[in-house]
Assembly symmetry: C2
Homo-oligomer: 296 residues x 2
């Protein structure tokens, strides 16, 4: 039995059909244009492909995930033009005629890491992605993090030393929240070059300090057993070790937990599934059908 997965991103959508990360049978990627056009392309892909038992969608947000809500599956306040109030969940459910589950892109990725990757066996962990934007999700007590709606790690507030970094931040809502200061978009705006072209040591030292502050806050609030840290910006080779060292310095040995001592190499880790887009969403679809532990 095959499942469908959609990574519904703000820049591109990836649709896939398969049974898991080692068995991905069909994949298509297309740019995110208007809601109608983008949703229609996804529907077309699944209509023309192998039949699927269910489809899981990992979407950008914020998105309404409350099952009893009249606006379930609807993107709420995104600054992405044309996409605010777009009903992703119901629109695809109506067209595809199979069960459709929707969650945030980061919760969908967290589910994949929990089932096949860097978070197997854990019940409380974070999945944080630093790319164009910054997102976070994960599991708490063995289930994906939802609560009132879903986490929005990127919009937490962190210390911002304006003498060292006078940049105002790029978040249209909050200016210098974590995403406003440390997303790929922020790096591009502050330094005038995209992250991947930046070899300047100051760029990555500042970036590591901001990400580390975000991770320390996640540790203080959630006490995760591990943090999986991915996204395009994390491809910068020296960044992971700079972040680990800075988190360790900021914690200053306070908690006394063995896992938070040492070099944090087993505590702050890369995603094991890497960027194999779409397959995390297959996990989401499987879960929706009760084929994996109930973690929705």
């Amino acid at each position: 039995m095959s499942f469908g997965g959609i990574e519904a991103g703000g820049t591109k959508w990836v649709c896939a059909i398969g049974t898991g990360p080692e068995d991905l049978r069909e994949v298509v990627t297309f740019p995110t244009t208007t809601p109608d056009e983008t949703i229609a392309r996804a529907a077309e892909f699944f209509a023309g492909g192998a039949s699927v038992a269910a489809v899981g969608i990992g979407s950008f947000g914020p998105i309404d995930l409350r099952r009893d809500s009249p606006t379930w599956g609807r993107i709420t306040t995104t600054p992405k033009p044309g996409w605010a109030s777009t009903d992703i969940g119901s629109a695809l459910r109506a067209v595809l005629d199979v069960p459709v589950a929707v969650d945030t892109d980061v919760n969908a990725a967290a589910l994949g890491e929990h089932r096949w990757g860097a978070a197997v066996g854990l019940d409380t962990f974070c999945y944080i992605t630093v790319g164009t934007g910054i997102g976070g999700g994960g599991m708490a007590n063995g289930r994906l993090m939802h609560g009132l709606q879903h986490p929005e790690f990127g919009h937490m507030r962190i210390p911002h030393d304006r003498e060292r970094d006078p940049f105002d931040g790029v978040c249209p809502y909050h200016g210098d929240c974590l995403e406003g200061l440390a997303s790929g978009e922020a790096i591009r705006a502050r330094w005038g070059a995209p992250p991947e072209d930046n070899g300047d040591e100051r760029v990555w030292s500042l970036e590591a300090d901001y990400i580390a502050l975000g991770l320390v806050n996640a540790i203080c609030i959630l006490s995760p057993q591990r943090i999986v840290l991915g996204g395009g910006v994390m491809k910068q080779p020296q960044l992971m070790s700079l972040i680990r060292a800075r988190v360790s310095a900021l914690l200053a040995g306070y908690t006394g937990a063995r896992e938070l001592g040492g070099d944090l190499a087993d505590y702050i880790v890369k995603p094991a599934l890497g960027d194999r887009a779409g397959r995390h969403r297959v996990a989401r679809a499987r879960a929706r059908l009760g084929l994996s532990p109930v973690v929705t």
Copy 2:
């Protein structure tokens, strides 16, 4: 059947016997002195009182709560003189000869609010206390928050504008973390007077801004359905409404969730059980015996 509860604080311990908040039969309060003396007084109280089926302890920390840990029930790195590495859990379990459960003071209070107070029916919420120190805990997905160890809300990092507030903070580990800037101890050190004697508007405006930053970070990371906000500092009458207004301004309507619009009067609330110390711990003991939903 009666249960015992202990609020093991850094300044005083409160021991109680009863069945719930409306039926608290014996209560004793004594100052926290040396570990040996303090634990002996608690044991003496229970030995001389009505028999209890189990005892629940809500303790200051950090404390090792991992059931499979050789140092379970032990306070780890507290700056309180003499108390680092104190084994509260096993020491009392050995003396009392009944099941003993240990959790953080804030998780114990959260459990009480969930069973009888301001968090009935919720599955994801925070309980935050602003007193001598700042602590936070709560439930995620219907169970008390533990993860790697337990949350330490007080030690998250928040923006600190040193032009407005040049105070360095009082946390011996982190200086100007949330607790370092906004605890009762910080108010006393910054302004030279204890919080309750301070009528200066600047004191409470600054305090509200710091607490609001902490709450916003908890919202971004956990997405709680409600925040219960207690502790001695919160007795300042104008503080709650200042905090609600500031949280609303900081969120800036980003999430789109209805509950986070408006005046937040139903979202950021006082504890319903107030300061009736000890009775939350009775809930903890009941839970330990399986007399309430398993939420440990």
